[in-house]
């Protein structure tokens, strides 16, 4: 009872207390408790001093003690002789006495004294002998209950009214104790009741107060509370007899907790339960009794091979566990019986989590809750027979998840993902949910293990490649697992194992892919990049949602290796999905056409890397160019796998890479006077590159050890600068000129030889010829006329061919060059004067003149 300091307050409380006791039932119980109260009985008065007579009589019978102890003997003689002993003598005599009495009992020490506890145990006397009390449990503890009830009801006056809904609930609660069978363990039950029942009463009273009136008034809720109280109390009686005092206290404590939680969720349970459950009076009480007892059993049962559940429980987690349990029971009343019920699920989860560090985090109840929650509605589908008995799929899932987490080690030391409880629980929940949706995660096997287990192994195995300081955040790990779940569902073959490169160990494709990504994002020999986690997330998403979906095999790894190759694609500014897609499509197409390239991973890496660098060096920043160049290269490289060339003592490069490099350099090089630079689209560049590649494959010497291809294209471009400003230089013209030049040079390699112009400049003959030709054509009277000339591709070809051939054949003296130019001018003049003549006629005439 509360200690009151105010007289008025005392009066009020006392009045209310008294009023409360008007309740007839409580009053009877109260009276009964007073009749049965144990009384501490005082003894009649006696003097507790040991008299000399007593000591003398003792030594009369133990004279041996006097021998050799002269002081004692003297005291004895003195006392027996009728002499007065001084106070000191008496004390000394008594000391001898108590010492020898203690010695007789085999003890050392002085006078015995009784402790307050001993006395309390000895002189506390019950009204009735054990087993003969005419009371029920409720009656036995009614006095204490009333005390508690008074305190409580003072704050909740409405509870007093037996007609109130809450009053009825409490009535049902109390009635449960009248129904407990006292036939067995009667003595113990009577003694223990005083400790148990008031505690349960207090718990029930608190919980009932929180029930909404409509719920408290529901007969089904009242029935639930009645049955729960009875079940829990009966279970605790059963247990407590074999427990020591500490164990009994613990059992009572948890009984309180479970009861409170059960009452708190009574409404929810009733709402969820099918009508049929409460329609059968016989079954319902047993079902409800069992629910609370099962929870209590899970908490209190201490199996050496299982986990001590209670160590991990808190009021909150117990509450959630209770709710989950009721969820399942409401939907599957049969789970409380037989060998495939809640008890087995709880025991299964407890048995599946052995790792100490996980248990210490109080994780077990939440895991159990997750399994129970997910089981609701699917229970029948989640059990399967195994050679060792029935197995619950979600328990297996939890076992596999927690087993994988617990098994992680690095360098012989435990490695644990840096997960918060919430994150770890979310992971488990998501995985368990997956199993509910698709039991094949457990039922199907890969390499003799369930798919889930294999997927987890693959995931966590890859994480061992992470540097020690690169601990993944829980959310990242969660995301990885989620993505891995998805890819595994779609492409089971990602769990196939292969040997990669020179590695001896077989690894799952999924695991190797993740490992490659981790190694790329967290290089061991480099400082971590800012934004690496973003890159990691994007790469992982790409790998699992794009790459491995399309290529769940070794090819997928090859492709991934190509894009992650160091020095290859530049991800320094983040992940470019479009670029990666394009590259992979290019490579993939090439590989599809030429599967033999798959075994040339190193060469492919080199080509891609060099091309990327080439594009980078050219300064051409055109999206989509690199993948196209890669595609063009790979399309042609299959038949020229070994066509590599040493380039200026640098790393050997494939001739096609060198060719493309020279093309790009030529078309991107700034003009000398800044007047004109071709501005080409990707398609146009590709077209030129294709022309160049075709020629270079036939004439690899053009790029081996020199830059003839560059000079050729550069010559064309430089020559075009000589065109008058009013001429609109088209790509078509450029392409044609390059094509003509390529063909010409292919035929006449000497066109690339130098020639000294009239201005004293040394240029290659090709350029000289082109510049002179353009100069001649520029003598046209109008721009339209010049444009017309330039558009006459066929004529130009012939002019050019003729002129170039001529240039090649003559000695490059000043006179010869003048002659050649003059003849060309004459031919052009002829053509200009009479465009109706055929070129053959013109050149025939020209030839005659020349000859």
């Amino acid at each position: 009872m509360a200690v009151l300091t105010s007289t008025a307050a005392e009066a009020v409380i006392f009045s209310i207390n008294s009023a409360i006791k008007l309740s007839q039932n409580l009053r009877r119980a109260y009276a009964q408790s007073l009749r049965g109260r144990a009384l501490t009985l005082p003894l009649p008065e006696f003097d507790n001093e040991v008299k000399m007579l007593t000591i003398d009589r003792f030594f009369d019978e133990h004279t041996a003690y006097l021998e050799g102890l002269e002081p004692l003997k003297a005291l004895y003689n003195k006392s027996n002789g009728g002499e007065d002993l001084t106070s000191e003598d008496k004390d000394s005599y008594r000391e001898y006495y108590f010492s020898f009495k203690a010695l007789e009992r085999g003890e050392n020490g002085q006078r015995l004294e009784m402790s307050a506890e001993d006395l309390n145990a000895f002189f506390k006397v019950r009204q009735w002998d054990k087993g003969k009390a005419p009371q029920s449990v409720l009656q036995l503890v009614a006095g204490t209950l009333v005390d508690i009830g008074i305190d409580y009801f003072c704050q909740h006056p409405g509870m007093l009214n037996p007609e109130s809904v809450h009053g009825k609930v409490m009535y049902h609660f109390l009635r449960a104790f009248d129904e407990i069978d006292f036939a067995e363990q009667r003595d113990f039950k009577e003694a223990f009741s005083a400790r148990l029942v008031p505690k349960l009463f207090a718990a029930a009273a608190e919980s009932v107060a929180d029930l909404a009136p409509d719920l408290a008034g529901d007969e089904k809720v009242q029935s639930l509370i009645h049955a729960t109280a009875k079940g829990i109390a009966t279970d605790i009686y059963r247990r407590a007899e074999t427990l020591d005092a500490g164990g009994q206290n613990e059992a009572v404590h948890w009984g309180q907790m479970v009861l409170r939680s059960m009452v708190g969720h009574a409404g929810q349970y009733v709402v969820q339960s099918p009508q049929s459950l409460f329609g059968t009076n016989q079954g319902v009480s047993k079902i409800i009794e069992s629910t609370g007892v099962i929870l209590l059993d899970a908490i209190l049962d201490d199996n050496s091979d299982q986990i001590v559940f209670k160590n991990a429980l808190s009021p909150d987690t117990l509450d959630r566990l209770t709710r989950a349990t009721l969820d399942v029971v409401a939907q599957h009343p049969a789970v409380l019986h037989g060998g495939r019920g809640i008890k087995e699920i709880i025991a299964g989860v407890a048995g599946s989590v052995k790792d100490k560090s996980i248990l210490e985090r109080g994780f077990l109840p939440e895991l159990t809750r997750v399994v129970l929650e997910q089981s609701a509605g699917h229970l029948d589908l989640l059990w399967r027979e195994t050679p060792t008995g029935a197995e619950h799929l979600l328990v297996s899932a939890v076992k596999q998840v927690m087993g994988t987490l617990a098994a992680q080690t690095t360098d012989g030391k435990p490695w644990k993902p840096a997960l918060t409880n919430t994150q770890m629980l979310s992971i488990v929940e998501e995985l368990v949910d997956e199993v509910v949706q698709n039991p094949a995660w457990i039922l199907d096997e890969v390499q003799g293990k369930p798919v889930l287990s294999e997927m987890l192994d693959a995931t966590f195995a890859s994480m061992r490649s992470l540097p020690k300081d690169a601990r993944l955040q829980g959310e990242v790990l969660r995301s990885i697992l989620k993505q891995n779940v998805e890819i595994t569902l779609l492409q089971r073959s990602v769990l196939d194992k292969i040997k990669w490169g020179t590695e001896q160990e077989e690894k799952a494709i999924l695991s190797k892919a993740l490992e490659m990504v981790f190694t790329f994002v967290f290089p061991k020999d480099a400082r971590p990049e800012i934004g690496r986690l973003q890159l990691l997330a994007e790469l992982l998403e790409y790998v699992t949602q794009t790459l491995l979906r399309q290529h769940p095999d070794e090819k997928g790894l090859v492709l991934l290796d190509l894009i992650l190759f160091k020095g290859g694609v530049d991800f320094s500014r983040g992940f470019d999905k479009k670029l990666t897609d394009e590259i992979l499509n290019s490579v993939s197409a090439a590989l599809a056409a030429h599967p033999e390239l798959l075994v040339k991973g190193r060469l492919l890496q080199s080509i891609i890397s060099d091309l990327a660098q080439t594009v980078q060096d050219s300064g051409i920043r055109q999206p989509g160019l690199l993948p196209e160049l890669i595609r063009i290269t790979l399309e042609n490289v299959a038949s020229h796998l070994e066509a590599v060339a040493d380039e200026h003592a640098g790393q050997p490069k494939h001739i096609l890479v060198l060719a493309i490099g020279q093309v790009l350099r030529a078309i991107s090089q700034p003009s000398e006077d800044g007047r004109w630079v071709p501005k080409l689209s990707n398609d146009q560049i590709q077209e030129i590159v294709r022309m160049a590649v075709a020629v270079v494959l036939e004439n690899p010497q053009w790029v081996r050890g020199g830059d003839k291809l560059f000079q050729l294209i550069d010559a064309v471009i430089c020559a075009m600068e000589k065109l008058p400003d009013f001429v609109a230089v088209t790509y078509t013209l450029l392409r044609d000129l390059i094509e003509i030049a390529l063909e010409a040079v292919e035929r006449q390699g000497q066109l690339l030889n130098d020639i000294k112009t009239q201005t004293g400049e040394t240029i290659i003959r090709l350029r000289f010829a082109l510049e002179e030709l353009f100069a001649i054509l520029s003598e046209a009277e109008t721009a339209e006329e010049l444009a017309w000339y330039l558009s006459q591709r066929q004529i130009l070809n012939i002019l050019m061919e003729y002129f170039l051939t001529y240039i090649v054949t003559i000695q490059a003296t000043e006179d010869n060059l003048k002659t050649a130019v003059s003849q060309m001018k004459a031919a052009v003049a002829t053509w200009r004067n009479d465009t109706s003549k055929t070129l053959e006629e013109i050149f025939g005439k020209l030839g005659q003149q020349s000859a």
């Binding site: 008294s18 009749r35 501490t40 005082p42 003894l43 006395l119």
Partner: protein, 286 residues
């Protein structure tokens, strides 16, 4: 706030009026029992552990218990209706005993016994502990009185041997069967009440302990008797020797065998460690 206070006070008064007439008697009895238990626990502690510090006087709690019992008994009809009138008398009688109000205690115990008898006959309601206690209470008070009388008698100047011997025969023990000194009679009456108990070892143990307490006083009486002989200058040495022999014989004939029997009973009734300690305690004491 003042309105609330006035309302609460008014309500309390109303409720008090209604309630005190209905169940306050139980609460008074409850309080009486609780206070008595507290007092008895302190009492026993002081007696068995003289060196321990007891925070309050048992008398204070006995007085409180008695007061609450009397308050409860102001509503005898209600107590009777709830079948606790006898219990209220019992706690009152026990409190009176420990408050040295021996005659009142005996009278109250008789009232209690009448009520227990009525309960048994009318309602078949048996309360064996309280009934046996009430039956034994006169003897228990006699033991108290005997002890107090003995120590009062020998306080101050030591009486002569003959005077002391008369006291012994009158108040403690007399060899003639038709003489029944209070102390000897009390010890044997308690034994009789104990023998009529059906079960209830706890209560039997209490009675055994009470008998041992009485026996201790008996033993003290013999010690006083010997002292009186030793100090009685009117006695010759041989007379003194004879007196000491008488005391030794009394001890041997009455104290020792009874003590051994009671200690054996104690062991039999409570075969547990605290009983062994209790047995040793008494064994050392006299």
């Amino acid at each position: 706030m003042k309105k609330i206070a006035r309302f609460t006070t008014g309500l309390a008064a109303l409720v008090l009026l209604l309630a005190l007439s209905s169940c306050s008697h139980l609460m008074y009895l409850d309080s009486a029992q609780q206070n008595f238990n507290r007092a008895a626990a302190l009492d026993n502690e002081m007696r068995f552990s003289p060196r321990s510090e007891v925070p309050a006087s048992p008398s204070l709690y006995y007085s409180t218990a008695h007061a609450f019992a009397e308050k409860a008994l102001q509503n005898k009809s209600a107590l009777k209706k709830d079948d606790v009138l006898a219990n209220a008398y019992s706690i009152k009688a026990l409190s009176e005993w420990k408050l040295y109000r021996y005659d009142e205690a005996k009278a109250t115990s008789r009232l209690a016994l009448l009520e227990y008898q009525a309960l048994e006959e009318d309602k078949k309601l048996f309360m064996p502990r309280d009934k046996a206690l009430m039956e034994a209470l006169p003897s228990l008070t006699d033991l108290d009185q005997g002890k107090r009388f003995l120590y009062t008698f020998f306080a101050g100047t030591m009486p002569g041997y003959e005077q002391a011997k008369d006291h012994y025969f009158s108040n403690v023990f007399h060899p003639d069967a038709d003489k029944s000194p209070k102390l000897e009679t009390a010890v044997s009456k308690i034994d009789m009440v104990r023998s009529q108990l059906e079960g209830n070892n706890d209560l039997a143990l209490y009675f055994v302990s009470s008998q041992l307490a009485g026996l201790k006083t008996w033993s003290d009486a013999l010690d006083f008797l010997r002292q009186s002989a030793n100090k009685d200058n009117s006695l010759s040495d041989s007379a003194k020797q004879e007196a000491r022999a008488f005391v030794a014989e009394q001890y041997k004939l009455h104290i020792k065998p009874q003590k051994e029997k009671l200690l054996a009973d104690l062991s039999r009734l409570a075969p547990k460690p605290e009983a062994e300690r209790m047995k040793s305690y008494w064994d050392d004491l006299f």
